[in-house]
C-alpha cells in the first residue's frame, strides 16, 4: 500500500466512523446525510474513472472495463441521490442492500486471493462476512427502526476499524526485479 493509499484509507475509515456517530446521535435524519455523502463519493469516483478512461484507458487492451466501472459508479451516485428524500426505512433498506453488495464483493475478492495463494485473503473475508452478517441482523430486527440503525452503525464501525487497521499492517508485496 502506498502512502497515498494509506492516507486515503484513513480518511475513508474516519468518514465511516463519523457517519456512524451521526447516525447514532440522530437516528431520525442521519440517514439523509449519509446518503448525500455516499452519493457525492460515488459521483466523484465515477467522474475520475471516466476521465481516466477517455484520456488513457481507452487505448489499453481491456480498457473498456474502466469505462463500465466509471459509468456504474456515476450512475449509482445519482441513484443514491434520488433516494435521499425517501422515508428512512426505504433509505436504510437501500443502504443495507449496498452494504450486502460490498460484503459479497469482499468475499469474492477473498476467495480469488485465496485461490492465488495471496496472504491478504483473510482480512477481505473478515470484512465481507461482517458486512453480510450486519445486513442479516438488520433484517431480523427490521420492525424496530432505531434498533436497525444501531445494528447498521455497529457494522459500519467494524468495517471502519478494519480499514484503519489495514493501514498500519505490513503487507507482503510481490516485486519483480
Amino acid at each position: 500500500m502506498s502512502k497515498f493509499q494509506r492516507v486515503q484509507n484513513i480518511v475513508i475509515g474516519l468518514s465511516m466512523l463519523i457517519s456512524a456517530a451521526v447516525l447514532i446521535l440522530f437516528p431520525e435524519g442521519g440517514c439523509v446525510y449519509i446518503m448525500l455523502f455516499l452519493a457525492a463519493s460515488l459521483i466523484l469516483r465515477g467522474i475520475s474513472e471516466l476521465i481516466y478512461y477517455f484520456t488513457m484507458a481507452r487505448y489499453m487492451v481491456g480498457g473498456k472495463l474502466i469505462l463500465f466501472i466509471g459509468a456504474v459508479f456515476f450512475d449509482f451516485g445519482f441513484f443514491t441521490l434520488t433516494l435521499s428524500d425517501e422515508s428512512n426505512l426505504f433509505v436504510l433498506a437501500y443502504l443495507l442492500g449496498f452494504h450486502a453488495f460490498a460484503g459479497l464483493v469482499n468475499v469474492l475478492r477473498a476467495l480469488e486471493a485465496r485461490r492465488y495463494k495471496s496472504t491478504s485473503w483473510r482480512i477481505n473475508m473478515a470484512q465481507g462476512v461482517a458486512s453480510i452478517l450486519t445486513v442479516l441482523i438488520c433484517m431480523l430486527f427490521s420492525h424496530n427502526e432505531t434498533l436497525l440503525v444501531y445494528c447498521y452503525c455497529a457494522g459500519m464501525i467494524y468495517s471502519a476499524a478494519l480499514r484503519i487497521y489495514s493501514v498500519f499492517r505490513r503487507t507482503a508485496v510481490v516485486y519483480i526485479q
Binding site: M1, S2, K3, F4, Q5, Y52, T55, M56, A57, Y59, M60, V61, G62, G63, I66, I69, A113, Y116, K117, S118, T119, R170, T171, A172, V173, V174, Y175, I176, Q177
Partner: protein
C-alpha cells in the same frame, strides 16, 4: 534478467571481448551490483541516496505514488532496467500523458543505448552498468520503467510456447493446442499467474508469480514487467501475450533468441569499449567471436531452469581457466565505508556510484529534453549556482575536477 546472465554471462562476454580475468570480474560485479544498489544499502555505507540503481520490496511498499515519487521511481527503473527505445515514438492517438508513458517503453537498439555505451568509457564499473542496461533492453522489451496500468498491464491471454519435444504430458492439458512454426513446432499452454510472494515458479505446471492487478493507473504493481512475472527474466522462456499498449495485437517473445543477441551485442559493445571498433552502432552483433561457442551458449539459454548460474559459471571458467568467485554484494562495501571522505571516490564503489549518477543524469536529461516530465526535471549545470538534487553536487564537482585536469 537475473544474476546468471548479469554476473556470469557478462563475465563470459567480457572475456571473449578480450578483457583480463580481473577486469572481467570488475565488469560482471558492477553489472550484477546494479540489481543490489538500493537506497537502503547506500545508507548503510554512507553513499548518496540518488545513486540507487534499484529498489527493494520494502522500499517499493513505502514508495510514494505522487508526482515526485513517480518521478523518482521512473528515474531509477528507466535508467538502469527499462531503457526507453524511442523517446519520440508515436502511438498515434492518445493524450499527452499517455504518449509520455508510451515513449518510455523499453527496447533494444535505441539511441539511448548508444549514449549509455559511450558513457561507459570512464571506468570498468561504468562498463558493467552499461552491460546491465544493454542486456535488460532485450529481456525487458515491451515494458516501461514507470508505474502504468495502460502500458504494463497484461491479461488472461498469456501463453507459454513449449518446444514440442520438451513439452511432455503437461503441455497436453486442456488449455494446450498445437501451433505451427516455420522451423519448430510448439505447443501452447495457458499460463496461470498467482500472487504469492513466497511461492516459487512452477515450470512443470506453468504456474508463475506475478504482481496483483490494481485498478489504479500508477500502482507500483504495474511497474515494469511485474504483471508478467519473471517470464522476461528466464532465458529459456517463449511466450505470447497481449501487451496493454498493443491495440490487441499479439506479441511473441522468444527469449533464447533475444538473449543470444544480447550476448553477441555485449561482446561487440565491450570490444568497442576496448578500442577494437571506432564507433558503436546499433543492431550490430559480434557473432564471429561468439560462433565457436554458439552451440554451448544456446544449450544453456534453452535449458528449462530457474537459475542458470552453475552452467554459465562452468562455461566462464572453461573459457578463462580461472575460478569465478560467487557474487557477494558486500565485497567492496567495507572498503568504501572505511575510506575517508576524500578517498571514497577512488574506491571501487566510489567509481561505481559516479558511473551510476552519470547514467541516471544522462537518461533523465534525455527524457526531459524530449518534453517528457515523467522522470522529473533535468537541471543543466550552471557554473554560478547549483539547482539540482543535492546528491548530484558531488558528482558535478567530480566532473568539474576531471574537466580541469
Amino acid at each position: 534478467m537475473q544474476i546468471d546472465f548479469h554476473y556470469y554471462a557478462t563475465y563470459c562476454a567480457a572475456f571473449l571481448a578480450g578483457y583480463s580475468h580481473e577486469e572481467c570480474l570488475a565488469i560482471c560485479y558492477s553489472a550484477q551490483f546494479t540489481d543490489c544498489c538500493t537506497r537502503t544499502l547506500l545508507s548503510t555505507i554512507g553513499g548518496p541516496a540518488e545513486a540507487a540503481t534499484t529498489q527493494l520490496q520494502l522500499e517499493m511498499m513505502d514508495a510514494r505514488t505522487d508526482i515526485l515519487g513517480l518521478q523518482d521511481i521512473t528515474r531509477i527503473w528507466s535508467s538502469f532496467h527499462f531503457l526507453p527505445r524511442d523517446l519520440k515514438a508515436d502511438p498515434g492517438k492518445g493524450s499527452r500523458i499517455y504518449k509520455a508513458k508510451y515513449r518510455l517503453i523499453c527496447g533494444p537498439n535505441g539511441d539511448l543505448l548508444v549514449k549509455t555505451v559511450n558513457l561507459a568509457k570512464e571506468s570498468l564499473q561504468a562498463v558493467g552498468i552499461a552491460m546491465h542496461v544493454l542486456a535488460d533492453t532485450w529481456a525487458h522489451q515491451y515494458f516501461a520503467g514507470t508505474p502504468s496500468q495502460v502500458i504494463n498491464n497484461t491479461d488472461y491471454w498469456f501463453f507459454e510456447l513449449l518446444p514440442a519435444e520438451a513439452s511432455g504430458d503437461s503441455a497436453n492439458s486442456g488449455d494446450s493446442r498445437e501451433s505451427g512454426d516455420a522451423k519448430r513446432a510448439f505447443t501452447e499452454r495457458r499460463i496461470t499467474f498467482r500472487h504469492n510472494p513466497t511461492g516459487k515458479d512452477d515450470l512443470d505446471k506453468g504456474i508463475y508469480t506475478s504482481t496483483v492487478y490494481q485498478l489504479e493507473e500508477n500502482s507500483v504493481m504495474s511497474l515494469g514487467h511485474g504483471r508478467a512475472g519473471h517470464l522476461p527474466d528466464y532465458s529459456f522462456m517463449r511466450y505470447k501475450y497481449l501487451p496493454a499498449w498493443g491495440k490487441y495485437e499479439e506479441v511473441v517473445k522468444d527469449n533464447p533468441s533475444d538473449y543470444y543477441k544480447a550476448f553477441c551485442q555485449m561482446v561487440y559493445a565491450l570490444r568497442y569499449l576496448r578500442g577494437d571498433h571506432e564507433t558503436f552502432e546499433t543492431d550490430r552483433y559480434d557473432t564471429e567471436k561468439v560462433s565457436p561457442y554458439e552451440t554451448e551458449i544456446k544449450e544453456i539459454l534453452e535449458k528449462r531452469q530457474l537459475d542458470a548460474c552453475a552452467d554459465w559459471k562452468a562455461f566462464g571458467e572453461k573459457l578463462s581457466g580461472c575460478e569465478i568467485p560467487d557474487f557477494d554484494a558486500d565485497r567492496y562495501c567495507t572498503e568504501y565505508k572505511q575510506a575517508s571522505v576524500d578517498d571514497k571516490d577512488a574506491t571501487f564503489l566510489g567509481s561505481y556510484i559516479d558511473a551510476a549518477l552519470a547514467q541516471k543524469t544522462m537518461v533523465t536529461n534525455q527524457i526531459f529534453q524530449s518534453d517528457n516530465l515523467l522522470a522529473g526535471y533535468s537541471v543543466e549545470y550552471n557554473e554560478s549556482r547549483f539547482l539540482g538534487i543535492r546528491d548530484f553536487i558531488h558528482y558535478v564537482e567530480n566532473k568539474k575536477k576531471k574537466g580541469k585536469a
